[in-house]
């Protein structure tokens, strides 16, 4: 076997060990690489920042268990920002896993002790059932009449935060973090096209290419692009957390990818032009 053959046929186990090492090393020895905040993250931050105090923000959590490592840090950072801005936040989800994710956000953000917020007066959690587009329409148009209680079974109409509440005027911004293409696009249809609200999104990086046309068209004000976007938002809110730690892992792992793409091509061309390959 020639050198070129060897370069083209590195066994998977070698590759996997190197990827594993690239993931593990920064956990024990953080590199502390600087983070250059991306434009979409900055725009998302500005959109939340420009929301008038006392108005309502809808925050949809829809990333389940699989998307939690990527998007939960973004949800935590964005929640810090929403509470700092004194917005009344309507969290909502449609399954038990995301409900647990929302309680997990509160464990980290501590809205009650850190920001003096009170459940029912400043924020609430809804657990809805039904097709997503209907849920979005209900939350934005007919919330109190359609959904009698929150996730804990408490009456919404009896809560201080909903006294004098009118959906058509009070909800100023919709924030959504999801691993679903249908949901991220569905919010554009409902929140922007139908109910004319401002929309901030967040999703896995692999979804960005399909969502960026909506951002360019101004339908999405800004977005969080996977782990890097979450790290950006943590930097912007000055609350470095899990996403900033992940940044080092992302960098080293992708360097391994790039190196192996180069090695594979060197082997391919070496064999083709010098090793008698076909």
């Amino acid at each position: 076997m020639s050198l070129w053959d060897k370069l083209e046929a590195v066994p998977n186990w070698v590759l996997y060990i190197l990827v594993l090492l690239a993931m593990a090393y920064p956990i024990f020895r953080p590199l502390g690489l600087p983070i250059v905040v991306g434009g979409p993250s900055q725009e998302a931050y500005k959109a939340v920042d420009a929301t008038p105090e006392g108005t309502y923000a809808v925050f949809h959590i829809a990333y389940g268990a699989g998307g939690k490592p990527t998007l939960q840090p973004a949800a935590v950072a964005m929640s810090h920002h929403l509470f700092e801005k004194n917005l009344k936040v309507i969290y909502f989800c449609d399954n038990a896993v995301d409900l647990a994710n929302i309680w997990g956000i509160f464990d980290e953000v501590s809205p009650d002790t850190r920001y003096g917020k009170e459940y029912g007066s400043d924020y609430v959690v809804l657990s809805l059932t039904g097709p997503f587009l209907t849920q979005a329409a209900v939350v934005l148009s007919n919330l109190l009449e359609t959904i009698p209680t929150d996730a804990r079974g408490q009456s919404l109409k009896g809560m201080p935060m909903f006294q004098g509440y009118t959906e058509t005027e009070d909800i100023n911004i919709v924030c959504q973090l999801t691993t679903s293409g249908d949901i991220s696009e569905g919010w554009v249809y409902q929140a922007v096209s139908r109910y004319e609200r401002r929309l901030v999104g967040g999703w896995l990086s692999m979804m960005t290419s399909s969502m960026i046309p909506y951002y360019q068209a101004g339908q999405i004000q800004g977005f969080i692009d996977g782990s890097k976007g979450a790290a950006d938002y943590e930097v912007l809110t000055n609350k470095p957390g899990e996403a900033v730690k992940i940044t080092d892992i992302l960098s080293l792992t992708q360097v391994v990818y790039l190196l192996f793409i180069i090695i594979g091509n060197v082997g391919y061309f070496g064999k083709k032009y010098m090793g008698g390959g076909k």
């Binding site: 590195v10 998977n12 590759l15 996997y16 990827v19 594993l20 690489l33 600087p34 250059v36 991306g38 434009g39 389940g64 268990a65 699989g66 998307g67 939690k68 490592p69 990527t70 038990a96 896993v97 409900l99 647990a100 309680w103 997990g104 657990s127 059932t129 039904g130 097709p131 209907t134 329409a137 209900v138 148009s141 007919n142 359609t146 996730a151 139908r194 990086s205 960005t208 290419s209 399909s210 960026i212 046309p213 360019q216 890097k228 790290a231 940044t247 992302l250 960098s251 792992t253 992708q254 360097v255 391994v256 990818y257 790039l258 192996f260 793409i261 594979g264 091509n265 391919y268 061309f269």
Partner: protein, 210 residues
């Protein structure tokens, strides 16, 4: 009578509801908007079908366990045990209880994270073996992929911001252009399908007909 129930009435309901949705989008009539919102919320009722799905799942896997299907029955049994465990936890303590959250945090989250994390290894292997400059097309693909990966890797834009600019330029031009074309195609297809459904030419949603 049964023939009327099977075809004309569903077609009529589809036409009326479909036209309501279309007209409400184009005209600002308060009565139309109110009817639209009401009909829109009715769809929540349809979600009750998920319970039928659960019953169907239990029947299917229950039969496998009863028959002791080789190589399968213990997976089916485990599925039933887990459905029962989640149901009991949720019904007895509630889905916002610490017990339920413990299950979510220690079963669902690690399993979901493991599935996504394993992609990192497959992607590394796939990129190494497939992304080779075999001709002009694959060369262009590799070049754009390489530049996007570099722009996405926090290390590189931290050393030179131009990497992020190059990546963004690729997204803002080639990617957006391509996706817009796809969107237009999907949109036109959706409109055609919608019109065919409204006028009763597309009846697949009523189920397979003998």
């Amino acid at each position: 009578m049964s023939e009327i129930l099977k075809r004309p009435i569903p077609l009529l309901i589809t036409f009326v509801v479909g036209m309501l949705m279309v007209l409400e989008y184009f005209f600002t009539v308060p009565a139309l908007t109110a009817t639209y919102d009401t009909v829109n919320t009715w769809r929540v009722i349809l979600y009750a079908c998920v319970y039928l799905g659960t019953i169907n799942l239990l029947l299917l896997h229950g039969r496998r366990v009863m028959r002791r299907d080789p190589g399968q029955w213990y997976y089916s049994a485990w599925l039933i045990v887990m459905i029962a465990a989640y149901a009991v936890l949720g019904l007895v303590w509630g889905v916002d209880s610490m017990n339920y959250r413990w299950m979510i945090d220690n079963v669902d989250v690690p399993l979901g994270a493991t599935m996504y994390a394993s992609l990192a290894f497959y992607m590394a292997s796939g990129a190494y073996r497939v992304m080779k400059v075999r001709n002009l097309g694959t060369g262009l693909l590799l070049l754009s992929a390489f530049l996007v990966i570099i722009g996405n890797t926090p290390l590189f834009p931290a050393t030179w911001e131009g990497f992020a600019t190059i990546r963004n330029t690729i997204f803002d031009t080639f990617v957006v252009g391509s996706y817009r074309a796809i969107r237009f195609g999907v949109g036109l297809g959706g409109i055609a399908l919608g019109i065919r459904t409204l006028v009763g030419l597309e009846t697949g949603y009523m189920g397979r007909r003998e």
